[in-house]
Amino acid sequence: MLRSYEGTRYISDKQVIVLDIGSAYTKYGYAGETAPRGIINTEIKCPESRELRKIYSYKDEDDLYQLLVEFLHMIFFKCVVISPKDIKIVILESPLIPSKFRNTLAKVLFRHFEVGSLMVLPIHLVTISTLGVDTLLVLDVGYQEATLIPVFEGVPILKAWQALPLASKAVHESITREMKTILSETESTEKLIENIKVRTCFVTTMERSLKLETDNPFKPPPDVKYYTTRTFEIPGSVREKAFEVLWQRDNDNLSVPTMILDSIIKCPVDTRTQLAENILLIGGTVMAKGFASRLKTELLYLLNSELYKEKLKIKTFKFHTAPSKPNYTAWLGGAIFGSVDLPSRCITKENYLELNRVPDWVNLIDNRKDEASNTI
């Protein structure tokens, strides 16, 4: 029986843990599986003060070290239920993560948990493995910010990277503002606001959006009765306006669609059409109803605007669909890559203890930042 033979072979090698520690949610699971085992808030109850703390709210490196020790201890013994000692860990990394965070994370994993090896994978690059392609423009709209890096033939075009604080957090702030008269300050916790967003709000069409702030807007969608400790109504206008902050053309003309266009402009001419026809949207925020279709309408509209008409000769935009939900697509990339035996891409415990830091080749980000500042 070939099957059972394969099964035993698979069992004999060590389980690899894949972690995507996002600023709002952490996705955890095993390499080689099709989805993460869990998606939890990136926060931990501090054992001394008993308060719930977000990992990214750390005060300094020492504080972060302690927070990560507690948080990862929970992940290892309550979530993935595996002894961390001597195992391989795959970490997904956002391009905006400070090197301080990466170094502290590596220190906690090697010095406290004594993991065997660590593989740090950049989110945008690793995502191509979920599609089996090598040219892809990856837009990640998460919690803190939206980030974009085009990948051409398997190589990230780092000078064309984009990042704007247009993501979940901005949407939550806008809902909180709109709900001010209905919810008191103590009532409007981020958890409630997020649930209101996910359960009732949507991204409206561009056509309706243009009329929202005028004197004769379309009839708003129906209000929604919401139950917590008390019952209240969510006005239809709040449901429709929630995501508008992502598309607003402010003075700088910076919005989610301009990120894509501005990035393509920074890419070599020969790559532009290919990138525009290979877009992948990842991150929890892109799961909002109507997000992708609004993005496409906005892109086509901007393409014909004065701003981009001369600069870009693109006709169409095409979008990929990954075999996953967008909020864990990056994790899936890590789970695919993590199951490949690539010792040259791993930092081993011995290696780390000798150097006492994460080797330079992982510091993709710092290199990129220098390059980015040169081009501005």
């Binding site: 201890h73 004594e114 599609l131 109803k289 290199n367």
Partner: protein
């Protein structure tokens, strides 16, 4: 237990710097040091299901995907689902029999006693056997993702071979992490070439994803249809099942219950186990439990006079010897070196270090030193505590007799040891003694923090008998060990005199 009330009043300093109550620390008998949950190595010892208490061996647990095959969590409220049984009448399908009698058949369904969710409401068919037949939803993407994994595994092995052959300059590297970006000239060169992936193509390559111009449009009825929020899942419910993240309550599917682990804890310096739970899931006992309260004298605060700035207050402390051996206690200042010491036969005091501690390397759970890995050193934790009062240390020491379980039951009158300094020891009974000390809060402005509780620090030296016999040392070794203690005494009294 008194620890519940005095939880943070008396804290012991662990070797790693953590401050914890005696109930939360271990005493490694092999390296004679205090260890705590922070500085030991935690390992998964066994798995069990918190509902049915099944505890399969670790190898089987992985096959079961770390989940119990019999128990399910409610997809609605996350409580454990119970299996309900019922009976249905089934018409016999055998047409040969003229009078087909209806047969009753036992059926099973899942139901939540807390939120009333049921597998029937969700449209999951009833099962004819109670356990084993409930199927978890297979991911629709499994086939595709497996093909992708296999493809990247092949690319990985190609890259590995090339690296081994030192043909590192080859361009057949599929993800160039080392390169920090692509330049325009590189891109231009690339365009003429075959795409990297295709040139690598073997029959194994899965069909690359096709991008599409078509996008799911926002459904128009969202602007008119009213929403019943009770029929829409919450974010927690969606994230409970990442693969599906369904929007409607009736699409929720039960998830198999995850196994819970029992942990054993190992000293990171000598690799001896300091805590190992019983294998049986129902047992709360331990096979090995080197808890500090079996080995280190326990200290409790009995009473403390109201504390006034610059005035001395009386502090009563109760010491208790948990061991079978008499111990001598000396209270020292915080800056005393913490190295264990021993007194030789000649009466000379000498320091103990790793070399002359009786380690007892024949312990069954200890790997031979050749196999053992180098110790990974973690930096100590910073002690974030400010000492803001002085404790006047006694000049004399005192003795604590061994614990005598039988003596606990008879009631001898308070016994005063003739050798005791009456100014120091105010009460004693069995293996316990209460001593009196004086505390003076610092007047020093820099050290005074507003309304912070008064904390004093002192080091306790206690006699310890190392009973681990080794080949060279057959007799128990008598040692003097030290531990730093931090006592929180409460706030200052601000009264006008």
């Amino acid at each position: 237990m008194a620890y519940l009330f005095q939880i943070d009043c008396v804290r012991y300093a662990c070797s790693c710097g953590s401050l914890k109550s005696i109930a939360k620390i271990y005493f490694c008998r092999h390296c004679l040091s205090i260890r705590c949950g922070y500085c030991v190595c935690h390992e998964v010892d066994s798995y069990y299901c918190s509902n049915c208490l099944e505890n399969p061996p670790a190898s089987e647990v992985r096959l079961k995907k770390y989940k119990c095959s019999n128990c399910f969590d409610c997809p609605c409220c996350f409580e454990t689902l119970s299996i309900r049984s019922g009976q249905v009448l089934v018409k016999s399908l055998h047409t040969t029999q003229e009078e087909s009698k209806p047969v009753t058949k036992k059926i099973y369904y899942l139901s939540c006693t807390l939120c009333r969710w049921s597998s029937r409401d969700a449209g999951i068919p009833d099962q004819t056997v109670a356990t084993g037949s409930w199927r978890e939803q297979e991911s629709p993407n499994t086939y595709r993702i497996t093909a992708l994994i296999n493809f990247y595994k092949i690319l990985g092995s190609i890259e590995k071979q090339q690296k081994e052959r030192k043909k590192f300059q080859s361009k057949r590297i599929f993800l160039q992490f080392e390169k920090f970006g692509i330049t325009s000239t590189m891109a231009r060169k690339r365009v003429g070439q075959l795409p990297l992936l295709q040139s690598n193509t073997q029959s194994d390559q899965p069909q690359p994803s096709e991008a599409s111009e078509e996008i799911e449009e926002l459904s128009q009825d969202i602007f008119t249809k009213s929403i019943d929020i009770t029929k829409i899942t919450t974010l927690d419910q969606r994230l409970q099942h990442p693969e599906l993240q369904v929007e409607n309550i009736n699409e929720l599917r039960p998830q198999r219950k995850q196994f819970i682990v029992k942990r054993s804890q190992r000293c990171r310096f000598c690799e001896h186990t300091v805590s190992k739970p019983d294998y049986c899931p129902t047992s709360t006992k331990f096979k090995i439990q080197l808890a500090a309260f079996y080995h280190v004298p326990e200290l409790r605060i009995v009473a403390c006079e109201p504390l006034r700035l610059g005035y001395s207050s009386e502090l009563l402390l109760k010491f208790c010897n948990p061991t079978q051996h008499q111990t001598q206690i000396i209270l020292l200042s915080m800056d005393t070196p913490m190295m264990p010491t021993t007194t030789t036969l000649q009466g000379i005091k000498e320091e103990i270090n790793r070399e002359n501690v009786q380690m007892g390397c024949d312990s069954p759970n200890l790997l031979p030193s050749a196999v053992r890995q180098a110790i990974v050193v973690e930096e100590g934790r910073q002690v974030n505590i400010v000492i803001n009062a002085e404790v006047i240390l006694p000049s004399s020491s005192f003795i604590l007799p061994p614990r005598d379980d039988a003596a606990e039951y008879d009631d001898p009158s308070d016994s005063q040891n003739s050798q005791d300094d009456p100014k120091l020891v105010v009460w004693r009974k069995g293996n316990k003694a209460i001593i009196r000390l004086d505390v003076i809060p610092y007047v020093d402005k820099d050290k005074m923090v507003k309304d912070e509780p008064i904390v004093v620090g002192l080091a306790m030296q206690y006699g310890y008998i190392n009973t681990i016999a080794t080949l060279e040392h057959k007799a128990p070794q008598k040692l003097d060990l030290k531990v730093k203690l931090f006592l929180t005494l409460g706030n200052l009294v601000h009264n006008i005199l």
